[in-house]
């Protein structure tokens, strides 16, 4: 009876009985997550004033081993209050300097009007902004609140809060465009207290978020007739106010670490059900822009693919609903603001598509799979995005590419957009590839050495942080997969998921699991790819032949390490009689000579012939051919370019 009651309670809060069923059944008292930061919030959106008035209560339990002498809160929206925040300053460093020039009307901010211990004294008067990362006195994204009495380990307190936020024109996937509102990081959000102290970073341009799990019970009041999507599930039917001008929507989400919501009068609502043997059923709720109504199936199929493959490879999605938000398309970022698409929140994510979205183009499928995948790498395995963004973004980029290759084989090609981005053209000759497009080698190549990946992410150079977090990780995970094989790789990720579920696993935990599951000491690997910013580039330097005994030749093949990165590399030599010799070079010295005696001539030499090392920045120099076709290839493509140039000249001279 008690078991049944707990199961119903869990299910009603959005958690599926499947996936976490075993846990819940074995220990009905324990929730899947620590639930140490729970919020009951009320918020009213005023589209006319572009404000949100919020209030509520935080129930916080100290799960660290140390007493808390203060509390620290994120006030993320203050990053957009003026140009002096660390977020704005970092945007100016190689990202988007023009954001600081936004007019005052486009900016946002959050002002606390109440912060108090429940039934106790005011805390706001003594609160002060701190800048633990960079000491920026003008940054107001972290609020430190001294306590009269420390909160002991295991002790729970309740904090009452009230605030008003000014909704900006979209910054960092948050804000408004016309009547479309996407509201994230919108309430005073407590940091994570660890044994070492508060992990409560300022808002940075290149990093995302980190928070503890809890239960969210949120009532959102919006104009009547507006559709609302949010983390969690609808806890009660929407209630219309007496004046009929507003409607309140109450959502509840258990065992999540964030709560985002969206509202617009224009959303079209579609629902479908995900069902897959061995995985729990999930209601997929899709909020679509009307002009994308014909793309509903594409969103559903991509979400379904993510739930299926991530679920079967790593672990089941445990909630009973997922909300997919199709955001307003940003076709003119200079005017409209930054996009809200391609972002993940627990039980809700934003996809992103265009009015003209060619079937052969990877949007919206790619972004949808990626953000749905974040439900696993971020939502459930809640790593610290401030410090180790590679753990969610990198793992997820790798996983996304694998799902795309499985679920949509040979479908996607390169699509370029023209005429102000409003027209699309599919280049059918340029097929999507997992290694190049999925892992984004081309974006990584020019910035390969820009940062040491093991540096806390918020300290990365803002302009290249994404490439190091997303792309480098995907490339080295792809490399690891080729070293160990997919079954082992899958087992590593599945165990990481299992152990990290509803927790905050660290990089060392992941590395330990990789070693444990593979049965190998992979320290060298992670030293090379994660704890080093060295570039990898191996190549064939020289092939020479000299007569040896009668009828045979001595062949000398010199291979070279052009980059600083070191990786053991197989070298394959193929002779013109079809025979092959293969040796593995440890790759440590700057060059290495291999000598062979054969009656045949060398036909080709390949360094890393199976392309295991996906981080090799220049693969063209990895091979040598006795009958090179460079002249033919160069002739062919320069001729194509020649006619392109002729056309360009004719076009530009048309008005002459």
């Amino acid at each position: 009876m008690f078991r049944l009651r707990v199961a119903v309670l869990v299910a009603s809060a959005g958690l599926l009985p499947l996936g976490t069923q075993a846990r819940v059944a074995q220990d009905p008292v324990a929730a899947p997550s620590p639930r140490n930061a729970s919020y009951t919030l009320e918020a009213t959106l005023d589209p006319t004033a572009r404000t949100i008035a919020g209030s509520g209560r935080l129930t916080w339990r100290n799960t660290s081993a140390r007493p808390a002498i203060d509390l620290q809160f994120h006030l993320y929206w203050n990053a957009w209050r003026d140009a002096n925040s660390s977020w704005m300053r970092e945007q100016a460093l190689g990202r988007n300097p023009r954001l600081a020039e936004r007019p005052a009307d486009d900016r946002g901010g959050i002002d606390l009007s109440r912060l108090a211990l429940a039934g106790g004294g005011d805390l706001l008067a003594r609160a002060r902004f701190i800048a633990p990362d960079d000491g920026n006195a003008d940054d107001r994204t972290v609020l430190s609140v001294p306590l009269d009495r420390p909160v002991a380990p295991g002790e729970t307190i309740e904090i009452e809060m009230a605030w008003t936020s000014r909704v900006p024109r979209t910054f960092a996937r948050t804000g408004r465009i016309g009547d479309y509102y996407f509201i994230a990081q919108w309430f005073p959000k407590i940091g994570v207290l660890e044994d070492a102290g508060w992990n409560c970073h300022q808002f940075h341009a290149a990093t995302e978020f980190f928070a503890d799990f809890g239960v969210y019970d949120v009532s959102l009041t919006v104009p009547a007739g507006w559709v609302v999507g949010a983390t969690g599930v609808l806890a009660s039917p929407p209630a219309q106010a007496t004046s009929s001008a507003t409607t309140t929507h109450r959502f509840r989400a258990d065992d999540v670490h964030d709560f985002a919501w969206t509202s617009s009068p224009d959303f079209l609502e579609r629902t479908e059900r995900f069902e897959e043997p061995g995985l729990g059923a999930v209601e997929m709720r899709l909020l679509l822009q009307p002009e994308h109504a014909d793309q509903a199936d594409r969103h559903f199929s991509a979400t379904r693919a993510a739930l299926k493959y991530y679920g079967s490879w790593f672990g089941a999605y445990p909630y009973r609903q997922i909300t997919v938000v199709d955001p307003v398309t940003i076709f003119n970022a200079e005017a409209q603001g930054q996009g809200t698409g391609g972002m993940e929140y627990p039980m809700l994510f934003t996809a992103g598509t265009r009015w003209v979205a060619p079937w052969m183009g990877s949007q919206p499928e790619s972004v949808t799979v990626h953000e749905a995948g974040h439900q696993f790498w971020y939502g459930l395995v809640a790593t610290n995005e401030f410090e180790h963004a590679w753990m969610d973004e990198g793992l997820n980029t790798y996983s996304t590419a694998r799902v795309i290759a499985e679920a949509f084989p040979n479908r996607f090609v390169a699509v370029e957009r023209y005429f102000g981005g409003l027209a699309a053209w599919s280049y059918e000759d340029v097929r999507w590839s997992r290694d190049v497009d999925g892992f984004r080698l081309n974006a990584f190549r020019p910035v390969a050495t820009s940062d040491l990946q093991s540096t806390p992410t918020w300290r990365y150079w803002p302009g290249t942080a994404s490439a190091i977090s997303y792309n480098k990780t995907a490339l080295w995970l792809g490399t690891l997969e080729r070293l160990l094989g997919w079954p082992t790789m899958q087992a590593i990720l599945a165990r990481h998921f299992e152990r990290g579920l509803f927790r905050h696993p660290t990089p060392d935990e992941f590395f330990a699991i990789a070693g444990e599951v593979s049965g190998r000491d992979l320290t060298w690997f992670f030293d090379a790819v994660h704890r080093s910013s060295a570039a990898f580039d191996y190549g064939v330097a020289q092939v020479t032949t000299a007569p040896a005994t009668a009828g045979s030749f001595t062949h000398t093949v010199v291979v070279r390490r052009h980059g600083d990165g070191i990786f053991p590399t197989p070298v394959r030599v193929t002779f013109d009689d079809g025979t092959r010799r293969e040796e593995t070079w440890d790759g440590r010295e700057r060059w290495h000579a291999l000598r062979f005696t054969s009656t045949a001539q060398v036909a080709r030499v390949e360094v890393d012939p199976e392309r295991i090392l996906l981080l090799d920045l220049n693969y063209t120099n990895n091979s040598w051919s006795a009958r090179p076709q460079a002249a033919e290839a160069a002739g062919k493509w320069s001729l194509r370019w020649f006619t392109w140039l002729q056309e360009l000249m004719l076009t530009y001279a048309f008005f002459a």
């Binding site: 693969y619 090179p628 076009t651 002459a656």
Partner: protein, 350 residues
């Protein structure tokens, strides 16, 4: 179109735009050497750069097996590696040169006023100068509507080169104003103001299309004025380019609807050519000889279309003014101009 010296100006019917359009195309198609020469000029200017690129590509591929894959079709991995280390024109080598996508990229870059690679910009400038040089001879030949000797053709080129350079200066200023003032006004200021709270992309598409129409109309107007100024300069042997411009403006103003109609007919012909190219543009794995042949045929059509603008405008102008009958007149003795020939024809017919 009148083609007999016996037809007097008074008896001649007013030029129709369809007639001028068809006669323009007829004259262009009957001057194959002209089209071939223009295409050859295009090739001659593009070839040195293509050879330079060929060297870069060959050097990058070296003895690599990636070349085998590049011969077979588009090798995206290698192309990206090449692009990452390329300098100068090498940076323009990407999949956006392929097939009709390349055409889209060029047209989009032009209308969106995207910055050209400096070397390519240099080549385009040189090509524009060549066009200016050739324009006198081209218009003279097309206005006469029958073969002239090479010496006469280049004589006309030389005759009008400096005049057209002066004209080009004025027209260039007009284009500069369009691209540096009107373009940002339309596509930055106005477009931004109208789209900042727009939540539907399809509305933005309609808006941008309308703005393109406005901008293209402005470009077309300047182009029309320039075209008729050139036609009047050649046919009437005008020395003053300012007076030719004034005459062109007056000519267009007095028959603006028909002039616009003729221009649109020519634009429609251009669209038909683009539509055919959309169907026939070669894929990456199309045999090299076939890809080259298809591309050159397409470019030849583009040259014809450009020449047809000139020819039909000349025909239209001749049909509108009193001395159009010269086109079937006796062969001129160089250095007689097309205008002298026309006057002779007129005096003979009257």
């Amino acid at each position: 179109m009148p083609s007999s010296p016996e037809v007097t100006a008074a008896a001649r019917p007013r030029a129709t735009i369809v007639g001028a359009f068809l006669e323009g195309w007829r004259r262009v198609l009957r001057a194959p050497a002209l089209s071939a020469s223009v295409l050859a000029a295009t090739a001659l200017l593009a070839l040195p750069l293509a050879f330079a690129l060929q060297g870069m590509l060959e050097q990058h591929l070296g003895t690599s097996l990636e070349a085998d894959r590049a011969v077979a079709g588009w090798n995206a991995g290698w192309a990206a590696e090449f692009g990452a280390q390329a300098q100068g024109i090498g940076r323009t080598f990407s999949h956006e040169i392929l097939g009709f996508g390349g055409t889209m990229a060029i047209l989009s870059g032009f209308i969106d006023h995207e910055e050209l690679n400096p070397t390519i910009a240099g080549a385009v400038t040189a090509y524009v100068v060549v066009w200016i040089f050739l324009s006198g001879g081209l218009i003279d030949r097309l206005a006469r509507g029958r073969p002239i000797r090479t010496r006469a053709f280049f004589g006309a080129c030389g005759e009008f080169f400096v005049r057209f350079l002066r004209l080009g200066l004025v027209i260039g200023i007009a284009y500069w104003v369009l691209f540096s003032w009107l373009h940002p006004l339309l596509f930055s200021d106005l477009y931004n103001a109208l789209t900042q709270d727009m939540t539907e992309e399809r509305l933005a598409v309609a808006l941008r299309a309308a703005l393109y129409a406005v901008f293209l109309a402005a470009l077309a107007l300047v182009s029309l004025v320039a075209d008729f100024a050139k036609v009047r300069a050649v046919v009437e042997d005008r020395r003053s380019m300012l007076s030719a411009l004034g005459a062109s403006v007056r000519f267009i103003r007095r028959r603006c609807i028909r002039v616009a109609g003729l221009y649109l007919l020519n634009v429609a012909a251009l669209f038909v050519i683009l539509r055919l190219w959309l169907q026939l543009a070669p894929a990456a794995d199309t045999p090299n000889w076939l890809a080259l042949l298809l591309a050159q045929v397409y470019l030849l059509f583009r040259v014809w279309a450009k020449l047809a603008f000139m020819a039909s405008e000349a025909v239209f102008f001749q049909g509108e003014l009193a001395h159009a009958g010269y086109t079937a007149g006796p062969r001129p003795q160089w250095p007689d101009s097309a205008a002298v020939e026309a006057i002779e024809n007129l005096s003979r017919s009257s």
